[in-house]
């Protein structure tokens, strides 16, 4: 015997629905795969400034460091772990290869709800169009 069921049961239903949302919201949705980002193009497109795995988790830190060094300290050269030297420049170095913002940056960022404020100042590349 339950008392005040007319309040308690709907309350429970709402609470359970909220907490199980990740499961039932995904019923019937296609299985999720790693964002299929655009393959880099351009001269040095074989090798990024640092290894791919490192770039995946640390690119935002690198970009942040680059920005500070370039803007605040006028330092324009980055020496990578493997000793190679790179121009500190988003426009020229990064976007030189990753020219497609929509298919490279945005794909991953949108999928993971990341909203970098790079493009508040920088001109977004139009990509391979």
């Amino acid at each position: 015997m339950l008392y005040n069921a007319k309040y308690i049961i709907p309350g429970l239903v709402v609470a359970v629905a909220a907490f199980t949302a990740p499961f039932w919201l995904n019923i019937g949705t296609p299985s999720y795969t790693y964002p299929d980002v655009a393959v880099p193009t351009g001269e040095d497109s074989k090798q990024c400034v640092e290894p791919k795995e490192w770039m995946r988790t640390q690119h935002m830190t690198l970009l942040n460091t680059w920005r500070d060094e370039a803007v605040r300290f006028d330092k324009r050269t980055y020496v990578a772990t493997d000793g190679k030297k790179w121009d500190i420049s988003l426009q020229n170095t990064c976007l030189g290869c990753h020219a497609n913002k929509v298919d490279f940056c945005d794909k991953c960022h949108n999928s993971n709800n990341v909203q970098p404020y790079c493009w508040n100042c920088h001109v977004a590349p139009k990509g391979n169009e």
Binding site: Y3, A21, N26, S31, M60, T61, N112
Partner: protein
């Protein structure tokens, strides 16, 4: 406290080392799924356990003026007389911790023979911060469960990171929840009253949440996680099709383990206050107990010392004192005689 700390530490260590020793699916998938089942099932069980007992009496605590005479302003939210008022009171209680907002500190000063009461809203402030930060964090995490990410989550992240400090953007909720946790922990250590009443089961959830928050913050700002890969793994869980764990940060599994343990103990610890707050009869009932009769399902038949019995006890002195009687002294005597078999003396009054 030590016991709780060690327990939480061991849980974290086990998950951290375990996930490096190939037990990622255990800590990252089996345990979280089990935890969700225990949490949901346990909380349903807990609420139904409460619901099985009736509320025999309406005992709302009145926090202000009742509604009686037209010209006296009632406290519609602190002493609600209507259902709408009760809803308002409950919303204030659940969303803004209305009762805790009243909190005071008492200081007894024997030198000056004075007791003073200070408004003390720190507990209210930090408790509110803690709960809201937790909620915001919970909501933010839906980015890992949904594809595409709904726009409202973008707004949440935007406002949470509105200071635009650093990359990844520093979340206000991260900073505040750490402050709130430290406050909630330190007051238990520093305040002698709190220290005296706190038990292992008060510290344990705190340590678990510290672990949970700590690993989360660590993965965002320091020992970074490939969130894109984490999302693939998490979406694999909610689609019930396991994905590769290769290369995922062990902290990720530690994070999930802290969460899982928290969820598992939830229905069996003080954390059930999440549901209990809705079912407290001193808050969720209208203060109209003289206007509308509250029915007690187990109300027993009324057995009491009746007026007839009372009059039987005191008939003589009552008659002497000239108090009105249901059965006059003469009638009662006649009745007594009848019962005891003595002959009735008719016309004795004549």
């Amino acid at each position: 406290m030590i016991v709780s700390f060690v327990a939480a530490l061991l849980i974290g260590l086990a998950a951290w080392t375990g996930s490096q020793a190939g037990l990622q699916y255990l800590f990252g998938m089996a345990l979280p799924l089990l935890a969700v089942v225990v949490f949901i099932g346990g909380m349903i069980w807990r609420v139904l356990y409460w619901a099985k007992s009736p509320v025999p009496f309406a005992i709302p605590t009145t926090g202000g003026q009742e509604r009686s005479l037209d010209w006296i302003k009632p406290a519609r939210l602190d002493t609600p007389m209507t259902k709408a008022g009760v809803v308002g009171r409950m919303l204030l209680e659940v969303l803004l911790f209305r009762s805790l907002f009243r909190n005071t500190t008492t200081r007894v000063d024997p030198q000056n023979m004075r007791i003073t009461y200070f408004s003390s809203k720190w507990l209210w402030l930090f408790a509110l911060l803690f709960h809201y930060c937790f909620l915001v964090t919970f909501i933010r995490h839906f980015r890992f469960f949904l594809e595409p990410v709904p726009v409202c989550l973008e707004w949440v992240e935007f406002f949470d990171g509105i200071l635009q400090v650093g990359v990844p953007t520093l979340f206000l909720s991260n900073v505040l929840i750490v402050c709130a946790l430290l406050f909630l922990f330190l007051r238990r250590i520093v305040n002698p009253k709190l220290r005296y009443i706190s038990m292992a089961n008060d510290y344990f959830p705190l340590f678990l949440i510290m672990g949970l928050v700590g690993t989360g913050i660590c993965m965002r700002y320091f020992d970074k996680l490939d969130v894109a890969q984490a999302k693939v793994f998490i979406m694999g869980i909610v689609h019930f099709s396991p994905q590769s764990v290769e290369g995922l940060n062990p902290l990720f599994f530690t994070h999930l383990t802290f969460l899982s343990v928290l969820l598992i103990i939830f229905p069996f610890s003080k954390l059930v206050h999440m549901g209990g707050v809705f079912l407290s009869p001193t808050r969720n009932l209208p203060c109209n107990t003289r206007q509308v009769r509250h029915v007690n399902p187990w109300n027993k038949p009324t057995v009491f010392h009746t007026y007839a019995e009372y009059e039987d006890d005191f008939r003589e002195p009552m008659a002497e004192a000239g108090l009105p009687l249901e059965i006059s002294l003469e009638e009662a005597q006649a009745h007594d005689n009848e019962k005891s078999g003595k002959p009735v003396e008719p016309a004795s009054a004549q």
